[in-house]
Amino acid sequence: MRPLVFALCFMLFAGCQPGETQSDTSFTFVQPEHFPPATYDFERNPVTEAGFKLGKRLFEDVRLSSDNSVSCSTCHQQAVAFSDPQHRLSLGVEERVGTRNAPGLFNLAFTSEFMLDGGITHLDFVPINAITSEVEMDETLENVVAKLRANAGYREAFQDAFGEDTITSGLMLQALSQYQNMLVSDRSKYDDVVTGRNDAAFSAAELRGEAFFKNNCASCHAGVLFTDQSYRNNGLAGDGAQDAGRSLISEVGTDIGKFRVPSLRNVSRTAPYMHDGRFETLDEVLLHYRDGVVSSSTLDPGLEGGIAMTSDEMADVIAFLETLTDWEFVQDPRF
């Protein structure tokens, strides 16, 4: 009976995505078993090879910016987990200085609020912010769509991806989401250890670092995604005066200086750190948590007085954080 059920299920699946072949498997979103369920609605926008490739092309295309100088990949580079290693505050068209350091992009399919202030609640809408921001791409969606429509290669690529003889902002955003949803980082040493893959095991220092992390960091950098996706003020000096963070969206004073807790996956690759890129190394970050936390009315209560740690403990924590680097992800030829 089992093979019959399996066969029927397989048929059913195949039937839902007509025209796909076996070779597309590597361009299909795969839910990692040890991750929470994806929040993105893949029924509305299933990943296909043609859609993914179109999304990648758009992600890397400077046409998305007003003077054709900046693409998404300008500030989101694969080698550093799609973060921006070059500038403390990321630069847009005409070298305009932004207000934040572009964060790494991965595991977006499991995220329900985007940007460091959580102002966007659907992945499809995220690129609109970057395209229209004056300090990023400073372009209009209308113009981007016009540029794409004028290009025969894009007309063909959209036709292949969506089967419709048209290019709209909606289809462009769906293609970008297909690409970004595929950026799943679940192949780090940490993942190998927790899933029992490849006979992986932590070293003694990594084990000590993990224990310290669980006791002192994991209440915010929680779970397998290493973020509880909440908004917190981690006590940065001068904060709130320069970037109000979450309160820009929630419009309440109690959120001033709060930012989304970032995932720590690939953290050893995504320097500089904090929303404004003020720290260049993980050592500096840990020193901040040990000695630099500034008290304020919105400081996270768990950080009052900082986190006591010895130099050895700092070294252990960094050893543990380095197990979160997903080398296959940052070198994946599909991306």
């Binding site: 066969a7 048929m11 609640t121 921001s133």
Partner: protein, 289 residues
């Protein structure tokens, strides 16, 4: 492989049979429905003393309107979203306009643009035959519409001019213009912050979160007719509805002073009172049967 083919055939046959049943059930009621046209008109002033409304050019100092505080103004931009349209009748008739969103279209979401006469009317299709004496709609796009993600048609952010990128969602109602009383500094779709007479009011916000300042400024509007509109064979009524533009600035929740109030409204919390005004500024005028 043979086994698979056999099962696939059986499965396909079953699927076909299933689909067939559905079709049979659906066909007849659809044919009985009729069309009900909804027409919006932007006007100035109360029903017993109203004037026609038209947009002014940006930069124009020809102020055709005067508000309740005696301040002269004109309007350069006026758009709003109508969705979740429901018709109800005296005999229990009820029609809910179907809604759906895709990357290339949006059904049941209507963008009324003062600069586009063709946008001022829309047809409700397949309305069951019967009498209707009430229409209600949402002024705005609710969380369901936002969370559908990328959208086309009236919701297409590339063409609508009604999407917020920073606090992502659809703005329910936008009105912009110039007032002799304004100190300027406002910025919007037609008004730049260098315009020293600009007034800009973007009324948006689509979610309430308990214990926070998140505002859902989408308002439900219900308008009763003074007669029954009949849908049936050869009967395709039009409900003529009006928006009193002046009442947006002078309504049940707030009176806007172009000299002293905030005339550059973008944050949901700042637009909450005016959103109630805007909803109250709609009225029923008449039915064309």
């Amino acid at each position: 492989m043979k086994t698979y083919s056999l099962y696939f055939f059986l499965f396909a046959a079953a699927l076909f049979a299933f689909t067939g049943c559905d079709d049979d059930d659906d066909i007849s009621p659809v044919l009985e429905g009729g069309t009900f046209e909804v027409e919006f008109e932007n006007v100035f002033g109360p029903q017993d003393n109203q004037r026609s409304f038209s947009l002014s050019d940006v930069g124009s100092t020809d102020y055709g309107f005067t508000n309740s505080m005696g301040q002269d103004y004109n309007i350069t931009f006026l758009r709003y979203y109508i969705s979740e349209v429901v018709l109800e009748g005296p005999d229990g008739e009820r029609f809910e306009d179907p809604m759906s969103v895709s990357a290339t279209g949006a059904e049941g979401y209507y963008l009324i643009s003062a600069d586009d006469p063709s946008s001022m009317t829309f047809d409700l299709e397949n309305v069951p035959a019967g009498r209707y004496n009430k229409i209600s709609f949402l002024l705005g796009v609710d969380s369901t519409g936002v969370q559908e993600g990328a959208a086309g048609g009236s919701l297409d952010p590339a063409t609508s001019g009604m999407f917020w990128s920073w606090n992502a969602g659809y703005v329910a109602f936008k009105i912009e213009g110039q007032s002799a009383a304004s100190a300027g500094g406002a910025s919007g779709n037609t008004i730049e912050n260098t315009n020293d007479k600009g007034i800009v009011f973007h009324l948006g916000g689509w979610k309430d979160i308990d214990g926070t300042a998140f505002r859902n400024n989408n308002q439900r509007v219900t308008l009763e007719f003074d007669t029954n509109a009949s849908v049936g064979a050869g009967l395709e009524p039009t409900a003529h509805l009006e928006l009193d533009v002046d009442a947006v600035f002078n309504g049940p929740e707030t009176t806007i002073d172009f000299a002293n109030s905030n005339v550059n409204v973008h944050r949901p919390v700042d637009g909450a009172d005016m959103a109630v005004n805007a909803a109250a500024a709609f009225r029923y005028d008449h039915i064309h049967q």
